[in-house]
Amino acid sequence: MAGLRYRFDRPDAPPPVVRVDLLESLDDGHEVAILAELAAATQGSPTTVVVGLSALTRYDPRLRPFLLALQGQISGEGGRAVYVADRPRLRGVALWVIHMSEDSQAKIVPNMAAALEWLRITDERVSSAEERTLTRLERLEGEQGGRR
């Protein structure tokens, strides 16, 4: 393991939150180290984990299986994850991971401000999207119908 490839942080507020920022492509050793460091930080208790992907400049196919393992560890302990990614493809990777993990609590956001906002609420991703869609759809259909 050469150089800094990830950063692990446990901010003071709002607890219990752990932040893991991936800085460049990881090798097996880094992946094992992150999972171990996370286990030590959470001590098996439900914890919110902010996973930062915005420092990654390209998509490495190794990222998917690693994030799947990370997501499994977070949700296995009853925690929830929020993925921060400022590139569409990396948001797609995160979406693939949380979809395959069947974790309806996990979330993907484009920046840290949105992640901090999300930490304050409880949100069920798919049903929230469905509810917002149906509400907006009914309103717009009503408006368009009224104009005819």
């Binding site: 400022d86 569409p88 693939w96 979809h99 069947e102 993907i108 917002r132 149906l134 907006r136 759809l137």
Partner: protein
């Protein structure tokens, strides 16, 4: 999510999936590769609600924003969320409508979309301004720019915002299932995700025009 996606489809679900695949093929001209995943994730009733709402949203967006504009807005919603399938397929549909109606090619070819897929949000809008700089692109550029602003958390306020917000929430819902193929699929293999896919003559003319527009040595779209 109303069903565990890792469970096998039950007999009745498999029958319903066959029927939906057949109807989709007749209506769209191709079998959407995401129907099975949607069944696995949402169940039959959930699928009916999901696909019904999506169809209604496409109609409402076309009526509110325009046929081509709505497809571009949907495509960029899907692309922003990380789904290459939705991005390429709906932007392809928008490109076809522009080509059919105005006989012009937009700058949004597959190679450009692949580039945008990897572009950080902070650079994407500047890149779109470079790509959509013709006066006739102003409306489309305005819509996509606003879409990105809303996605980043801007407060809605303009006349178009209600439509853009519908596209964003609906494709939040849609990409939950389409992402299973949306990450790896080659953009050039995605059909236009509307019944335009049945118009072989238009598809051929468009494809030939794209080929002619590429400078020798460029990557094939």
């Amino acid at each position: 999510m109303s069903r565990s996606r890792s469970e096998d489809l039950r007999f009745g679900e498999r029958l319903a999936l066959r029927a939906i695949d057949l109807i989709s093929t007749l209506y769209l001209g191709y079998k959407p590769p995401v129907n099975e995943e949607a069944f696995r994730t949402l169940g039959v009733r959930g699928y009916a609600k999901w696909s019904g709402a999506t169809g209604r949203a496409m109609k409402v967006l076309a009526a509110g924003l325009g046929e081509a504009e709505s497809q571009f807005v949907i495509g960029f919603s899907g692309l922003w969320l990380g789904c290459g399938y939705c991005g390429a397929g709906h932007i392809h549909a928008g490109n076809l409508i522009v080509f059919r109606d105005r006989n012009v090619l937009t700058a949004l070819d597959d190679a450009t979309l692949r580039d945008l897929y990897d572009t950080p949000d902070s650079e994407a809008i500047a890149r779109l301004h470079e790509l959509l700089c013709a006066p006739e692109d102003a409306r489309l550029l305005g819509l996509i720019t606003r879409l990105y602003e809303l996605r980043e958390g801007a407060e809605p306020g303009t006349e178009d915002d209600a439509y853009l917000e519908l596209a964003l929430s609906c494709w939040d819902w849609v990409t939950e299932c389409t992402i299973v193929i949306g990450l790896e699929i080659p953009f050039e293999s995605v059909p236009p995700l509307t019944p335009l896919a049945k118009n072989r003559k238009l598809l051929r003319r468009y494809s030939e025009a794209r080929a002619r527009s590429r400078a020798p040595g460029d990557d094939a779209e």
